[in-house]
Amino acid sequence: MGYVRGLKKGDENMSEPLGLKAKLGLNVFKEDKERHIEIKAGFEKDPRLIRAVYVCPAGLYSLNDNGEVEFTIDGCLECGTCRIACGPEVLEWKYPTGGSGVQFRFG
């Protein structure tokens, strides 16, 4: 998906690109005892899951070589977009335990 237009490499306006992982690394995350989002058993290959690959702003969902959607909870912004896109039939979705998860300093 190499969709970048409007600016050529080496342009003086281009600032150092910040990878998504590095960007998420700027946030405060407090560890939770359990994952607050799970793909429901039997739904790993559900076509609705693929939507999450496109909508998740933290890029936590990805498609592996077997056509399955893989998911990591690290860096979850708790925005709720995957629940809206895939639906609660596919995702077991709740908020993390109080005092854990992302803590925005600016918001």
Partner: protein
Amino acid sequence: MDEKFDAIIVGGGLAGLASAYTLAQNGLEVLLLERGDYSGAKNVTGGRLYVSPVRDLFPDLWKKAPLERFIAHEEVAMLAGERSLTLRYSGNELANEPYQSYSILRAKFDRWFAKQAERKGAAIITKTKVDDLIIENGKVTGVLAAGDELKADVVIACDGAMSLISERMGIRSPGLPKDHAVGFKEIIELDPNVIEDRFGLADGEGAARLFMGEVTKGKFGGGFLYTNKESISLGMVVSIKDLMEDQDVTAPELMDNFKLRPEVAKLIRGGQTAEYSAHVIPEGGYKALSKLFADGLLVAGDAAGLALNIGVTVRGMEYALASGYYAAQAVIAAKEANDFTASKLSLYEKLLNDSFVIKDFKNFKEAPQVLDNPRFFNHYPEFVGNMMKDIYEIPAGSKDRLYPTMKKYMKFGELWAMLGDLRKVMKI
């Protein structure tokens, strides 16, 4: 604990805090439960609060509120693939007090607002998630939070766009992609002097900028930029339905491409990203509003679907503040009558109907359908971009007359389609 509260509020965002503040001010026993480390820890905004509609609901609040900059200049840019057209609006009504709107950072504002509510007497407990409602004979009588049973006459669900609480009560179904957008943004730190120079701002002034067109690849939505005191809020709002159906670009890629647009890149040059946040935004409008009350339960803010996208503005915070305020008024009346049934609490809906909140939602009830039109996000930006290019371009040879150049664009098919779009836009 034997103690029973007059009201328990789920969620310390603007709706919840407005409720807690108002109830405590009127002497009611109120407990607010917030799952973040502090109020605001889980809350995200694009970045602008319109104070005007809610100024009088909280008259003592604004003087010391930690708002960032008042918005003195508005710009909207239509971005085509290789060019853009920008409109800039300034005016005395923006530059003079009372200021209409301010840039805002929620982690700062909400934390401060929570302190004000505590000073009024509200009990605010953070780091605590409400796991469930206590429902007896169909009536909400309290909440379960971290193993504790907490009782109250009324529970006010201010638990945000996902509102698992109203789902639990059965007064709302899980949100649908067509009624929701996702917003994501970066906080980019910059020296205040650089911000002021770069955006042409006097002391305290702020700028708001919108970007429509190529940045969303034709999807319903756009980019935004707000200047804060020492940072810039830069982000996008994009329809979840369009993102998941098109499957041509991911949300993080849209953000990266947005930052690389020359129109944007030069505004954030030299800045250091300090935070990346995201949130779902309800934008289904009037038709997608949730039921607002049940026996022992009220729903306010994003939880009720109270956010409105009318293209040039996406507003939610004023509606959250106002709905929290009116929910509190309904609870105060219910307490006086010692009646917390749905029929008594329906006063909340009446108050909202009579206020700017539901009036706005009715006025703009066609907006979601009208704006769900890819022509606004790919065709028109390219169209005006090309037109500007032909008007301004001085070619190597002779330049064509302007009228025939324009006429080239105004073909019958184009005019007919424009007319169709215009007729729809007239419903907004």
